[in-house]
């Protein structure tokens, strides 16, 4: 078990956003983090990425507290794709992906053949090679998301953390992106809104509610009509769909 949180809580500006969450990172494949707005998904991801320090509890990377690790080492170990990446800097898509090599290069290291290889590989795996020389500003929402994933891959992490990457994407790009995740061959923790996407594409789901972890396990076991009613406050029915179970709402 490489990345996990142990009873972590986080209070910011007087509000407790995460309450005693002990999350196991996925052994392999994709862990979907679901929960209503404000349930603490984004905050938990930030804690797991080491961007915020928990008020109590710990985030452990291979049994080591994340605070004890230098930032560059964390960045080589796990990568974060934020919900909405924006910049005013006039960069090409490839420049953005190349940012992912920063933790490997240090302040003065030269751009090596290996850096080049990793960047091109990341572009290829996300299907963005053809758009590599396009300016970031001209990319569509889906392409930007892919470039950010390519940037994360260029960090060569073992875990990938993603905060609602399908937001703002049309349905085709959503599905493309969700299909991409298992093919990356790394452990992915992804915050999701769409319960059916969690059902269909995640090996495991974790349900958050009011800052607490309600349950973690295989989607079919965890996402029951009862849990959905309790957590989301809607009536749902789990039925059979073309690709496994499906959630329908009333």
């Amino acid at each position: 078990m490489s990345l996990r949180s142990k009873n972590i809580s986080w209070t910011s500006g007087g509000a407790t956003l995460v309450r005693g969450v002990s999350l196991r990172g996925p052994e392999h494949g994709v862990l979907g983090l679901v929960g209503p707005n404000g349930s603490g998904k984004s905050s938990l991801l930030r804690l797991l990425a080491g961007l915020r320090r928990g008020t109590s509890g710990a985030v452990l990377v291979d049994q080591r507290p994340i605070e004890a690790m230098p930032r560059a080492e964390i960045a080589r170990r796990l990568a974060l794709v934020e919900q909405h990446a924006t910049t005013d800097v006039a960069m090409t898509a490839r420049d953005v992906v190349a940012l992912g090599r920063l933790p490997h290069r240090g302040a003065l290291g030269c751009w090596s053949a290996r850096d080049e290889e990793v960047v091109e590989g990341a572009l290829a795996r996300t299907g963005m090679t053809r758009a590599a020389d396009q300016s970031w500003a001209t990319l569509s929402g889906g392409e930007r998301q892919r470039i950010q994933i390519a940037r994360a891959l260029a960090q060569e992490p073992r875990e990938l953390l993603m905060d609602e990457p399908t937001n703002h994407l049309d349905i085709r790009h959503q599905l493309d992106l969700m299909r991409l995740l298992p093919s990356l061959g790394m452990q992915v923790i992804v915050a999701l809104h769409d319960l059916n996407q969690a059902m269909a594409f995640c090996d495991e789901v974790a349900v958050m509610s009011e800052g607490r972890l309600v349950g973690q396990g295989p989607p079919a076991e965890i996402l029951t009509a009862e849990v959905i009613r309790k957590v989301f406050g809607v009536e749902a029915m789990i039925g059979a769909g073309p690709n496994g179970p499906r959630v329908s709402f009333f």
């Binding site: 974060l80 990446a85 924006t86 910049t87 420049d95 933790p103 302040a107 003065l108 751009w111």
Partner: protein, 347 residues
């Protein structure tokens, strides 16, 4: 050579050409600075002066002209270069760090604080003659920066907090300056203060260069060392942190450095506007957004711009020297407008 590739959207030759052109321009601008002014010096006299002073030769030159070239014009040109380069790299750093294209060195309240310090010395004779105007300006600048830093730290994290705190600090110190000037300055003092507020290289001598040059070199090295960290700020502070940048430390280090550079410049030449805002943007058009090349290019461009502005400020009105801040704005604004216009459609 490959070390710089891939960090910018233009090929390395773009930077190479820019640096070459910049060096040539800087040399020409310095030549103009040595030759032109109220008294015109011939190239031969200037060359002999340089040879005498630099290599200890004893070529025949009129000692008054030698004094003008060496003690007055060359020191002035060196300080102009340092000031222009310092302000330009401060602009680059602040625009990247605060993710705001309008960020410039005076945003942190430094020039406002420096003015207050200088005015206190000029008008109220604070320090009873023992404190120079420059020292007063430096003290005021650092005090204002301390105020802005404390305010933005207390207000919480984030670039926009720093900007808001900077605006609050600037307004406060500008108000204090105006209050002191209107309540107790004589007409002559007011004129002196106005000149200083718009920037002046008039009283500059070698000791000023001895301060400005080491501070610039220190700043330039640290900025180049942090260039990659600045690249990482493209998508914000969390993105930079997740790329392995120690955001708090880098921000404190670079904000402190820009404060020091700006305070140093302002205390020597007054508050010269426009350089820190415009030069980084103009340089970006030529060398791309990667900070390693942008810092080098901006430093050079800022140096050239400032030396030229100084030469023009001496030539435009015969028998009179305009404040250099007037020149930087008069020529900088239209030049920038042209660049802005030509870059339309690029995004």
């Amino acid at each position: 050579m490959r070390g710089l590739r891939r960090t910018g959207s233009t090929p390395l030759s773009g930077l190479g050409h820019f640096l070459l052109a910049g060096s040539v321009a800087l040399t020409l601008a310095t030549c103009c600075a040595l030759l032109f002014g109220e008294i015109t010096v011939t190239p031969r006299e200037a060359l002999c002066t340089l040879a005498n002073q630099l290599f200890g030769l004893d070529l025949p030159v009129d000692p008054i002209r030698e004094g003008i070239v060496w003690h007055y014009r060359l020191s002035r040109a060196v300080v102009a270069m340092c000031a222009g380069a310092s302000l330009a790299i401060c602009g680059v750093v602040l625009q990247a760090l605060l993710r705001n294209p309008l960020a410039e060195p005076y945003l942190l309240g430094i020039s406002a604080g420096a003015s207050t310090g200088a005015v206190l010395v000029i008008v109220l004779a604070l320090g009873a003659g023992a404190v120079t105007v420059s020292a007063g300006a430096m003290a005021g600048a650092l005090l204002a920066f301390g105020f802005v830093a404390a305010l933005s730290f207390g207000a919480g994290r984030g670039a926009e907090r720093v900007i808001l705190a900077g605006i609050a600090g600037s307004q406060l110190f500008n108000a204090a300056t105006s209050f002191i000037v209107t309540s107790s300055a004589s007409a002559e003092q007011t004129r002196g203060i106005m000149f200083w507020l718009l920037g002046s290289l008039g009283g500059v001598r070698w000791p000023d260069a001895g301060l400005a040059l080491p501070v610039l070199l220190l700043g330039l090295s640290l900025c180049l060392y942090r260039a990659r960290a600045l690249d990482a700020f493209a998508f914000g502070e969390d993105a930079a942190a997740s790329l392995g940048v120690d955001v708090g430390r880098v921000r404190a280090e670079l904000l402190g450095l820009t404060a020091l550079l700006t305070a140093c410049v302002v205390s020597i030449v007054g508050a010269v506007g426009f350089v820190g805002l415009v030069v980084p943007h103009a340089t970006r058009f030529f060398v791309g957004p990667a900070h390693g090349r942008l810092i080098l290019g901006s430093a050079l461009a800022g140096a050239v711009f400032m030396v030229l502005a100084d030469v023009l400020s001496r030539l435009v009105l015969p028998g009179q020297v305009l404040p250099i801040g007037v020149m930087t704005a008069l020529f900088g604004a239209p030049a920038f407008a042209v660049l802005l216009w030509r870059s339309r459609g690029r995004q």
